[in-house]
Amino acid sequence: MLAHLEATAPKASWMRRVLARGDLVGSLVQIALVAALAGGAWYIVSSTMANLSSRGITTGFAFLSRPAGFDVAFSLLPFTSASPLWMALLVGITNTLFLAVTGMVLGTLLAFAVVSFRLSKSPLASGLAAGYIGLFRNTPILLHLLFWYFAVFAAMPNIRNGLVLEDAIFLNNRGLFVPWPQLSGWGWLIACVLALLPIAASRWMRRQHPTSAFARIDLSLLLGLVLFVAVVVIAATSWEVPVRAGLGMRGGALVIPELMAVIVAMCTYSSAFIAELLRGAIQGIDRGQTEAGQALGLHAGAISRLIVFPQAIRVVIPPLTNQYVNMIKQTAIVAAIAFPDLMLIMGKTVLTQTGQAIESLMIVTSVYLIISLTAAGLMHLYAAKLKAVGQR
């Protein structure tokens, strides 16, 4: 009601509010602040210009169209050393997003397992989960990353002595080699569409028959995964199986050790934080809700799926948004093990190669800023939508 009145009241112009009547000190302070900022900016710009000209560095973003001249160890986009530098930037962005999304999905899945232990009535399981959460909350993620990389995945035996499963899957210090299906673009598309079908169906079912097994998101995700795998297996013309070739490996798909280390470190680390958020949200739901479910004769699984969870999700969205945005930024630590993400490609490789320090770091910071602000904005929209549902 009050907010409504405030919104309709005529708003004083910005300048009016800066020079508010009766607030002489405030006006002076604000003017002084603006002057100080402008002076500081002018000082920095002029000394930067002087420094740049004395070092013979030209400014501008023209360097982005030059050929890269370096290779990247992992890329989802086609990239060679002849590709332009802006392509390297795109590779960095997609790699960062790939890491963040993988970490979010797997971390959240693991968090559900951790929180189910944490909230279990079994003291042993609850204590184990508490220990797990405490361990990760009180140690730096960089330590985990370095451990998984240097002490585990890079310390694997070499190709000759590495692990081999069924002569098709190889795990050694070069990474994980798995067979890869030869499939046309249409094949992948059909597989993806079919995988999404059960999920969409479950959303529809949820409105029609909320208690039916088809409305369960976990089961529909599983079904989608099974369908995806089935389509790929059926439609694949052949499988490219990795083989040892001389000192190296040939064929198949490769997951480099850096990537495995990042994914394991990010998942385990973030799962502890997400589990703690979920626990807070679930425990915050009024006990009366559970009891009402019991009175209706619902079994424990249905109560948590239909009553506790939807409410807990609403509570957990804002802190979870923060956690996800943090994870996007957290991926930047992979620069420590030389995984080519945005930070490493632009902030280190391109910067040292071209000497365009200001431009490179400006690009890095603005891209991170855009990604985090967009992610936060999308999550706020989702939270607003959930809230609207709750108020209906």
Binding site: V18, N51, F117, N138, T139, L142, L143, G347, L361
Partner: protein
């Protein structure tokens, strides 16, 4: 909570011993039983080999790599490298300077905290500022009578602690100002504080550190060459202060308006209202958030190794790289992890203690 669980809880008669109660609760219904068995499998499967490695088969005493049998952990390595893990490459005969610097910064933090608790805000800030400058200069040996040591030789746990002790206070003060700025009714102040906080929270610390290390020398006139440690401290403080600001702002938002109005009605000045009425309540409310930020700061200090400074984790990394010791990766990372865990755990304990104290004070 199923109906079964309810009855299981009810027939827990007094007089049963703890062991049978524990077992009863572990297998109160089918789901709990399954989870208990899973937890047992994880605990035994992971715990037994770990204990064998870390304790039963480990070597604790010795003078060199030859004293490790290599069937378990080689803790001799940690003992032999303790100096490097603690002080980096700081010259051995000058390490007393570091110890004094640590003592000064600890005294400064305690003194500032004690003064702040007596509402002597200016005194607290002054004590803290003096201790920061002193401890930094003593660490670098730049006071008369001390020997100068180059930044490249600083390292180890003491560097982590120095980073933390400077970062925590400076970013707290900056954060307090920013939080007040974001709540200000003056639009220029509010927008500057908001833009700053949102910018810093949207960018990874590593990017800030890169900017501080690479661009700061470009931004300043060629004469003003801030040393590497100082540049890193600036970066960390700028970053952490935005998180401190958000933690403090949450507390300020939660202070009831009535408190402020009561203070004004008593005739307190604006400054005294903030100092004596608003901030003490706000900081009590935001204590969990502040402790979380501090724990994050301890953990974030490890990122400085990416810009070439060897704190505890960096020194561990260097020590592990000593080929004479062979493969001591697990020992090194385990030790560093244990030290970080201990630091964060102590911080959490202090936070809980302060919270409990505040709760007692308000309940009285």
């Amino acid at each position: 909570m199923t109906a079964q669980a309810g009855t299981a809880n009810q027939d827990r008669t007094p007089g049963r011993n703890a062991v049978s109660d524990f077992i009863r609760r572990s297998f109160s219904d089918r789901r709990t039983g399954i989870v208990t068995v899973l937890a047992l499998i994880i605990l035994v499967g992971g715990g037994v080999p770990f204990l064998e490695w870390a304790l039963f088969n480990a070597d604790f005493v010795g003078n060199g790599p030859a004293d490790c049998r290599r069937v378990g952990a080689c803790w001799v390595f940690i003992a032999q490298k303790a100096g490097q893990l603690g002080y980096g490459f700081y010259p051995q005969d000058l390490r007393w300077q570091v110890n004094i610097s640590m003592a000064v910064s600890a005294l400064g933090l305690v003194g500032a905290f004690a003064a702040a608790r007596r509402y002597q805000v200016a005194l607290a800030a002054a004590v803290y500022a003096v201790s920061v400058v002193l401890s930094f200069d003593i660490f670098g040996g730049r006071l008369p009578g001390l020997t100068q040591v180059a930044v490249e030789k600083w390292g180890g746990l003491t560097l982590t602690l120095l980073l933390f002790s400077i970062g925590v206070g400076v970013s707290f003060l900056l954060g307090g100002l920013l939080a007040m700025g974001r709540r200000s009714e003056r639009p220029v102040i509010r927008s500057i504080a908001s833009v700053y906080v949102e910018f810093m929270r949207g960018v990874p610390l590593i990017a800030i550190l890169f900017v501080a290390v690479i661009l700061l020398p470009l931004f300043l006139p060629s004469g003003a060459d801030a040393n590497l440690f100082l540049r890193i401290v600036i970066g960390i403080c700028l970053y952490t202060s935005s998180y401190m600001a958000e933690a403090i702002r949450a507390g300020l938002d939660a202070v009831p308006t009535g408190s402020r109005e009561a203070a004004y009605a008593l005739g307190l000045s604006n400054w005294n209202t903030q100092k004596l009425v608003v901030f003490p309540q706000a900081l009590t409310i935001s204590l969990p958030g502040l402790i979380n930020t501090m724990v994050a700061l301890v953990k974030d200090t490890s990122l400085v190794i990416i810009v070439g400074v060897h704190d505890l984790l960096g020194s561990t990394q260097l020590a592990i790289g000593d080929v004479a010791w062979g493969n001591v990766l697990w020992e090194g990372y385990f030790f560093a992890g244990a030290v970080y865990f201990l630091m964060c755990y102590v911080l959490n304990c202090v936070g809980r203690h302060l919270e409990a104290k505040a709760r007692r004070a308000t309940a009285r």
